[in-house]
C-alpha cells in the first residue's frame, strides 16, 4: 500500500519538476520567438528583404506595409479580401496585417501598451482613437505629420479630386489637431438620418382609430397621450395602453430629448450646450429647461409617460414595442430596428414631427456628420509617403463604394439603365447624380464576407452621394408601398436644425487634463433630470441643483468647452 503511494508520488515529482524546469528554460531558450516579439516584427518578419528604397514607385518591386487593424468577425480574412487584393495589385504593395482585439477598448489598451513600453509600432494604425489619446500620441511624436502630404495633389491624389470639392473644408476642419496639423487620414460618411437622431414615433393606427391628427404642439401632444390612455385605442376593452415609453440608453433612445426640444433647442452629444453668436451656454440651467422638466414631470405624474423609460434597457422596450397587440403609443428611437422585423408592427409606427412648445420653440437635436481620424502613420514607418498613398487610394469613388457595398456589378451597380428605376425619389433633395443601386438581396454589410473591410478604414461617400444610399434597393418588391422614413425625416426634422451648433470640441493637452476634473458634470445633469421628472426629487430643489452645478465648477467647465469650440471653428 505504502509502496504504491510512493510510486505515484515519484511520478508526481518527475512530472512537476520537469514542467517547472521546462518553464525555467524557456526564458532563455527561445531566441527565435524572442525575435518575433514586437508587434511590428511579427508582420515584417517574412518580408525583411523589401526595404524602404523609395526611388521608384512600383517598377516591379513590391513594398511592404504593416497595418494594425482591429479584428472584425465579419471580415473572413484581411489577407485574401477582395478589397485587399485589388489594393495590393493597383498600388504594388504587400499589406501585412497585425490584428488588434475587436473591441475598441481592448484595441486601445493594446496600442497604449505598445506605445507606453516603447515597442516598435506597425507602419499604420488603422483604428479610431479617442481625441485625448490621439492628441497625446501626436504631441509626443508617435505619429507622422501629414500636413504636407495632404497639400500635395501628387500624393493625395484622390483627396484632392473634385469628388471632395464641396466638403473638403468640413472634412479638414474636423480632423485637424489642436496644433493645427494633420496626423491622420479619415473616414467620412455623412448621412442626414444620423445627424438628428432623437426622433419620436407614434402609433398611426391608434391615431386613426381615435380619429385624431398627429400633434403639432406640446398641448396637443398631451391631449393625444390622454386619449391613448383613456379611450382604449387598441380596442381590446382593457386599459393596458402605455401612452408613451422609451428606454435609458440606445441609439437615439432617450425619452427627454425630443420633448425638451419644444422648450429649448438641446443636443445630448454636445453637452446640452446652446450656441448663440459663437458663445456657448448650458441649456440645463435655464428657465426653459425647468419648464420642460415640469411638463415632462406632469406627464409621468399623470401616467402618460412610463417612468420605466429611465431604467429599462432597449431590450425591454423592444419587448413592448414588438408585442403583437400594440400597447405603446409613442416612443423615442433613432432606428426602426426597435420595431423588429414584422412588417405590420413596423408599419404601424409613424415619425412624429418635432413639437412646438408654449413659447413657440421647435428645435431638433443636431450633431453634424464629421470626418473621423482612422489612418495614423507611425514614427516607425520607413516610408510614410507610401503609407499615405495607400490610405489615399481608398478615397476613389469606386473604392469607397466597394468599401460599403462590395464588388461593383456584383453587389451594386451605377449602370444608369438599372438605377433610373430606383432612385428618383431622392431627386428633389440634391442635384441628382445617380450613383448606385444595391442588389437588395445581396447586401453583405453586417454579414461574414470577404469582399470589404466592413468600413473600418479610410473611405468616404460624401453627402452628395450619400443621400441615395440605404433605401435604393433593387429587387425589393414593395418599394413603393413602404413608407420612406428617410425622406420624411428630411422633410420634418432636417429642416429644423439650428443655425449654430457644436460640430466638435478641439482641446489641447492641458484642457483635456483639466476636463477630467469635471468628468461627472453631464452625468449629474442627466441624473437630476431623471430625478426631477420621475419625482424622486422635487422641482422645489431647482435652486439647490443650480448651486451644486456651480460648486462643481460649471463656469470653468463651460469656459473650457468654449475654448475647445472656438479652436474647432477657427479657420
Amino acid at each position: 500500500m505504502k509502496r504504491r503511494i510512493m510510486r505515484t508520488g515519484k511520478k508526481w515529482l518527475v512530472c512537476m519538476l520537469s514542467t517547472i524546469l521546462a518553464c525555467g528554460a524557456m526564458g532563455c531558450g527561445s531566441t527565435k520567438e524572442a525575435a518575433d516579439q514586437s508587434p511590428a516584427a511579427s508582420a515584417q518578419a517574412d518580408s525583411s528583404a523589401t526595404s524602404s528604397s523609395n526611388e521608384d514607385n512600383g517598377a516591379g518591386e513590391t513594398r511592404t506595409l504593416s497595418i494594425a487593424i482591429p479584428q472584425n468577425a465579419n471580415v473572413e480574412d484581411y489577407e485574401t479580401n477582395y478589397l485587399t487584393k485589388w489594393l495590393e495589385e493597383e498600388m504594388n504593395v504587400d499589406l501585412e496585417f497585425v490584428l488588434l482585439p475587436a473591441t475598441s477598448e481592448d484595441a486601445n489598451t493594446k496600442v497604449s501598451l505598445w506605445v507606453s513600453s516603447n515597442a516598435e509600432l506597425p507602419d499604420v494604425l488603422c483604428m479610431s482613437l479617442s481625441d485625448t489619446v490621439a492628441q497625446d500620441y501626436a504631441s509626443k511624436g508617435i505619429f507622422v505629420d501629414l500636413t504636407d502630404y495632404y497639400a500635395d495633389p501628387e500624393i493625395a491624389v484622390n483627396i484632392n479630386s473634385s469628388r471632395f470639392d464641396e466638403e473638403r473644408d468640413t472634412i479638414m476642419n474636423s480632423i485637424r489637431f489642436a496644433d493645427g496639423k494633420y496626423y491622420s487620414l479619415f473616414t467620412y460618411n455623412p448621412f442626414p438620418w444620423n445627424e438628428a437622431s432623437y426622433r419620436a414615433w407614434v402609433n398611426q393606427e391608434w391615431l386613426d382609430s381615435l380619429g385624431m391628427e398627429a400633434p403639432k404642439t406640446t398641448d396637443e401632444f398631451r391631449e393625444m397621450l390622454e386619449a391613448f390612455k383613456n379611450n382604449d385605442p387598441n380596442g381590446n376593452g382593457k386599459s393596458d395602453e402605455i401612452p408613451m415609453m422609451s428606454a435609458k440608453s440606445g441609439y437615439g433612445i432617450d425619452p427627454t430629448t425630443f420633448l425638451m426640444n419644444a422648450f429649448i433647442q438641446t443636443t445630448p452629444g454636445a453637452d446640452y450646450m446652446v450656441v448663440e453668436n459663437g458663445k456657448l451656454s448650458p441649456a440645463f440651467t435655464t428657465d426653459q429647461w425647468k419648464a420642460g422638466l415640469t411638463y415632462i414631470h406632469d406627464l409621468v405624474q399623470d401616467g402618460l409617460l412610463s417612468p420605466l423609460s429611465f431604467t429599462q434597457d432597449s431590450t425591454q422596450l423592444k419587448t413592448q414595442l414588438t408585442a403583437a397587440e400594440a400597447v405603446v403609443g409613442v416612443t423615442c428611437a433613432g432606428s426602426t430596428s426597435m420595431f423588429g422585423s414584422e412588417p405590420e408592427v413596423v408599419g404601424r409606427m409613424a415619425l412624429l414631427e418635432p413639437l412646438t412648445g408654449p413659447e413657440g420653440v421647435c428645435g431638433v437635436s443636431y450633431r453634424p456628420s464629421t470626418a473621423g481620424c482612422i489612418w495614423y502613420i507611425t514614427k516607425d514607418c520607413e516610408d510614410p509617403e507610401l503609407a499615405f498613398r495607400v490610405g489615399d487610394w481608398f478615397f476613389g469613388e469606386e473604392q469607397s463604394w466597394t468599401a460599403r457595398y462590395g464588388q461593383k456589378d456584383v453587389h451594386w451597380t451605377d449602370d444608369p439603365e438599372i438605377t433610373k428605376d430606383y432612385l428618383p425619389m431622392f431627386e428633389q433633395y440634391s442635384p441628382a447624380k445617380y450613383v448606385g443601386t444595391i442588389y437588395g438581396s445581396t447586401d453583405i454589410w453586417g454579414q461574414p464576407q470577404n469582399e470589404h473591410w466592413q468600413g473600418s478604414h479610410p473611405y468616404s461617400t460624401p453627402l452628395s452621394e450619400a443621400l441615395y444610399q440605404s433605401f435604393a434597393y433593387k429587387e425589393d418588391p414593395d418599394l413603393d408601398s413602404k413608407t420612406n422614413y428617410n425622406t420624411t425625416h428630411l422633410d420634418i426634422y432636417y429642416n429644423k436644425i439650428p443655425d449654430e451648433y457644436v460640430t466638435k470640441f478641439l482641446h489641447t493637452d492641458e484642457e483635456l487634463d483639466k476636463l477630467t476634473d469635471y468628468s461627472d458634470m453631464i452625468e449629474y445633469v442627466t441624473s437630476s433630470m431623471a430625478e426631477f421628472i420621475t419625482g424622486n426629487r422635487s422641482l422645489d430643489e431647482w435652486d439647490s441643483y443650480l448651486q451644486t452645478l456651480d460648486e462643481m465648477g460649471l463656469n470653468e467647465y463651460v469656459a473650457l468647452r468654449q475654448s475647445g469650440f472656438d479652436r474647432a471653428n477657427a479657420e
Binding site: 497604449s112 485625448t132 420605466l308 429611465f310 413592448q320 483635456l512 431623471a530
Partner: protein
Amino acid sequence: MQKKSAFDKFKKYYLSKWRLYLFLVIPVIYIIIFAYIPMVGAQIAFRDYDFRYGIWGSEWVGLENFLKFFKYHDFKRILWNTLSVSLYSLLASFPLPIILALLLHSFPGKRFTKTVQTVLYMPHFISVVVMIGMVMQIFNPLSGVFGLAYRVFTGEIMPDIFGNPNAFRHIYVWTGIWQGLGWGSIIYTAALSGVDMELHESAQIDGASRFQRVRYIDLPAILPTVSIMLIMNAGNIMNIGFEKVLLLQNDLNRSSSEVISTYVYKVGLMSGGDFSYATAVGLFNSLINFTLLVIVNYTAKKLGETSLW
C-alpha cells in the same frame, strides 16, 4: 559557549529541515521575477509617467496623483458607496456558501446532492452582461415574470426596483449570491471531505440528531477554512468590479451606485489611459485592503483561531 550551542542548534535545525526550504526555492524565485521586480514599477503612481522617459526618467510628482483622486468633490460618497456595497456583500454572501456546503454534506440522497451541486455551480459561467440582462427582464414590472406575478396577486403594477437608489445594493449583492453560491461552496465541500466519520458514528450512538451533528462536528471541522476565507475576503473589500455596476447603473440610482471603480473607469475613458493615475488609485485600494487583512488576521490570531501568519 552559550553562543556556540545556539549556533549548533541553528545548524542542526537547518541540516534536518533543508528539504522544506528546497521546496520553496522555485516559488520564491518565481514571485521575485513575476511580482517583486515589476512591483518596482509601481512608483509611476508618484510620477507623471511619460513613455519617452521611461519609468525611472518620468517626472516625480509626489502625491499629486493621489490628491487628484482625494479632492474629487464626491470622493466621500463613492468611498462610502464602495464600502457599504462590499460590506453588505461580505455579510450576506459569506455565510451562505458555508450553509449550503453543510446542507449538501448532511443530506442522505447522494444523487440529489450531486445534481444540486453541479447545477448550482453553473451560473458562475454566465457572463455578467447576460446575467444582468436576464435579471432586468425578469424583474420588469410590465413584461417580466415577477412583474406579471405581482400584478396577478396584488392587482397593482410592481414598483420598478431598478429606479430605486436604495434597492441598488440589494440587487447587486443578491444577484452576486445567485451567481456565486454554488461556486463559493466548493472549498467548504472539499474541506468537509476531511471530517472524521468515526466522530459521526459515535455521536449517532449517543443519540445526536443530524442537525446536532452538523452543528457540533461538521461546522467545527471546517472552522479553520472558514476563518481563512473570512480573512481573505476582508482583504478584498475595495474590489468591486465596474462592469456589473455600470450595467445596473441608470440616472435614477446613480447616487448610490457610483463606486470607486466606475468613477475611475469613467475618468480613464476621458483621459485616455493615464497609467500613473490608475496605478495611484490601485495602490490606494490595495493599501486599504491590505491594512484590513492585517487587522482581521491579527484579530483572528488573538482569538486563537487560524491565521495567515
